[in-house]
């Protein structure tokens, strides 16, 4: 199981480092598959049918379906790479190390180490979450954000798998369903974004804001 965790961590570093969106999508797909295997590994002794179904659906959805969806979006919008993110790829890696440290610290702080949960998995999952958030914050392209959301979701999933032997799998399926529909909707919106704005830079989506507001002089001037 630790191998999987380590692989997950490495995949995140790869994500942080690469500007190519295709690569990113593949990495995410790989993560999905890894996570799909995870429950099987986690409950080595007795694998119930529920767990089988769970891992299969996970692999299918996170490893195949959603990446495919992403690729479709990518094809529609003729962009291929993340250009000039707010934090460069090199420095992103350094931040990545920092995030890893944070993940470790969080895991320790929460005393997840001396309980029955696999600590390394916890660390890697939290690392996934942090990296997901980090990428969302630092990259421009909307599609990258949805990818990052997937990464984060994977992290959460990892935590879940790590913590809960007996999480009712109906709920698990529900969660998966939600995630899929969510990402699907994102894809749909991405499509519209591309059509409306001819770009996918979220930092240009600032029409709705409260910054430029001094026209209505309501308080002071009126009473003065």
């Amino acid at each position: 199981m630790d191998i999987i965790s380590i692989l997950l961590i490495l995949s995140c570093l790869l994500l942080l480092g690469s500007s190519r969106l295709h690569v990113a999508i593949r990495v995410v797909a790989a993560q999905g598959i890894l996570l799909g295997i995870l429950p099987l590994v986690r409950s080595m002794g007795d694998i119930t049918t529920g767990i089988w179904i769970l891992s299969v659906t996970t692999i299918v959805s996170k490893g195949i379906l959603l990446p495919w969806l992403m690729r479709v979006c990518l094809r529609n919008s003729d962009i291929d790479r993340e250009i000039e993110p707010f934090i460069g790829f090199g420095s992103s890696l350094i931040y990545g190390i920092g995030l890893l440290a944070l993940a470790v610290w969080v895991t320790v702080r929460m005393e997840l180490t001396q309980s029955e949960v696999p600590a390394v998995l916890m660390i890697s999952s939290f690392f996934l979450i942090f990296v997901g958030l980090f990428i969302m914050v630092t990259r421009r392209k909307a599609i990258t954000q949805s990818l990052a959301y997937l990464v984060m979701e994977n992290g959460v999933y990892g935590v879940g798998v790590g913590m809960s032997l007996d999480f009712p799998f109906v709920v698990e399926l529900g969660i998966l369903l939600d995630v899929c529909v969510g990402v699907f909707l994102m894809g749909n919106l991405l499509f519209h974004l591309d059509r409306e704005f001819e770009h996918m830079d979220v930092d240009k989506l600032t029409e709705l804001s409260d910054v430029a507001e001094s026209a209505a002089a309501t308080t002071g001037e009126e009473i003065a």
């Binding site: 929460m110 935590v159 507001e213």
Partner: protein, 487 residues
């Protein structure tokens, strides 16, 4: 059985309305579903003892209040919405603000989404399993995103995107929280049903429960619109079509609030009420303050309403955080706020439809031009700022009493200060819009646009002078559920 039908009915109707071609049939179905849903939920909520269906789905006093409330609001939004979609043109139309052409979503998608939203909200309310509730709440996000994107123009697209991303992230965080609750339950048999949690609340691990609470507060708080996690809210609520905004502010926020209530309920049972309480008070004050700042010079009246929702979510959080009398006040306030806010958004829709602008500085003499909506606008303003004889006054005053009775002077001071600030801001805006010499001639308003706001206004007024016994009982027992003794 009743509960199941409450969830299934809108689900089926929703999926059906994707397929139905004829507008008339679809709209009839919509109306019928809404009415039936209201009837069913009232029937389900009436009996005093908690109705349950297995361990996973059930209806205690708390959820009963929210269920009926949601259903009522949905019916109101339906009456308004059917007329709304009927009036919306199908052909591409120029955008009122940037003039770019846009085409509305197909009506079938809209209707289906809104019905599914009802279904998911109902599920979120009646589910007594935290995981299931999480699934439902996430589902509400997904169901409401297309609604926000009904007018497929740039701003609504932007709003929908922000809504989807931020809420999904937030909800994901909440899921972490649920896992931590699972961690907190030592022992072999771990079960996330409320019953089980409350049963073994005693031996929950406080540390992990605390962490769980933080995660769920941040997660559901994002969905509920607590500052500074509220950032998506003004965009979404101002860009959505008015009936949808009414639902989002009036009903959907409550669902997220219920999520927080549940975990707070567990915390209280585990003897950690203070831990959650302090955080809730902090976020409550933060939300009120920030909302006040943004209302103060707002130029877009739908955004103003959205921020006022942030404010009131803050008040709710504050009340719950205080506990005791505050809980009762907070629940009562949830009811009042939903009704009033829905009414305000619907009225704002009428104003928008008449003046074709959201800019408050461009509107004057609404009372003269829209006799009913104009008056409703002022009445709604008074109601939402907590002036008698509207119910909000009672609840806000009750919460103030709670702060004072616990001797939290700072909280009481800030609370009053923020309420004052918001009153100043809103009064300046609303009065400028409503009063003054009308530039245009008086117009008649179709009944669909004014009926539900009028009804809501009447309800708000009624709650200000008289609290019906059944509702009072429900509120009291709900407050007791959360460990508050209601005076």
């Amino acid at each position: 059985m009743l509960l199941l039908s409450i969830i299934l009915l809108p689900t089926v109707a929703g999926t059906a309305s994707y397929l139905i071609r004829s507008h008339r049939i679809r709209r009839t179905l919509w109306g019928a579903t809404a009415t039936a849903h209201l009837v069913l939920s009232i029937a389900a909520a009436m009996p005093p003892e908690a109705a349950t269906l297995g361990h996973w789905i059930g209806l205690d006093a708390l959820s009963a209040i929210f269920l009926v409330l949601t259903s009522l609001l949905f019916l109101g939004a339906t009456v308004y919405g059917i007329g709304y979609v009927a009036r919306e043109p199908v052909a591409p139309q120029p955008d009122v603000e940037d003039g770019s052409l846009f085409r509305n979503e197909p009506e079938s998608v809209f209707t289906g989404a809104i019905l599914l939203l009802l279904a998911t909200m109902s599920l979120a309310i009646v589910s007594r399993h935290l995981g299931l509730q999480w699934v439902a709440i996430e589902a509400t996000t997904l169901a409401s995103a297309p609604l926000i994107y009904y007018h497929q123009n740039r701003r609504s697209l932007e709003a929908a995107w922000k809504y989807l991303i931020l809420c999904s992230v937030g909800i994901a965080v909440a899921l972490l929280g649920i896992f931590f609750i699972l961690m907190a339950m030592q022992g072999e048999h771990r079960d996330l049903t409320l019953a089980a949690l409350l049963a073994q609340a005693g031996e929950l691990n406080h540390k992990w429960l605390g962490i769980a609470f933080i995660f769920m507060l941040v997660g559901y708080g994002t969905k509920m619109g607590l500052a500074p996690l509220h950032t998506w809210l003004p965009d979404a609520h101002s860009e959505a079509p008015s009936p949808v905004s009414a639902l989002l502010s009036g009903a959907l926020l409550n669902c997220a609030f219920l999520g927080i209530l549940r975990v707070q309920q567990v915390c209280t049972a585990a003897g950690m009420a203070a831990f959650g309480g302090d955080l809730l008070i902090l976020f409550g004050l933060l939300s009120m303050g920030l909302a006040g700042v943004f209302i103060l010079r707002q130029t877009d009246y739908k955004r103003m309403l959205a921020y006022s929702s942030v404010e009131h979510m803050g008040i709710l959080a504050l009340g719950v955080g205080l506990g005791g009398l505050g809980l009762f006040g907070s629940l009562l306030h949830a009811v009042n706020h939903s009704v009033v806010k829905a009414m305000l958004f619907l009225t704002a829709g009428n104003i928008l439809a008449r003046f074709h602008t959201k800019d408050t500085t461009k509107i004057q003499g609404a009372c003269g031009i829209l006799p009913i909506s104009g008056v409703l606008w002022i009445a709604g303003f008074l109601a939402i700022t907590g002036s008698p004889p509207f119910g909000t006054f009672i609840s806000e005053f009750t919460i103030l009493r709670a702060t004072v009775e616990q001797g939290r002077w700072v909280v009481a001071g800030l609370y009053s200060l923020f309420l004052l600030l918001i009153f100043v801001g809103m009064s300046a805006i609303v009065l400028r819009m409503a009063l003054g010499k009308p530039q245009e001639s008086r117009t008649r308003e179709p009944w669909t646009t004014v009926l539900s706001p009028l009804v809501f206004a009447a309800v708000a007024l009624l709650l200000g002078v008289y609290l019906p016994a059944p509702l009072a009982d429900k509120l009291h027992s709900a407050a007791q559920l959360l460990g508050g003794l209601a005076k």
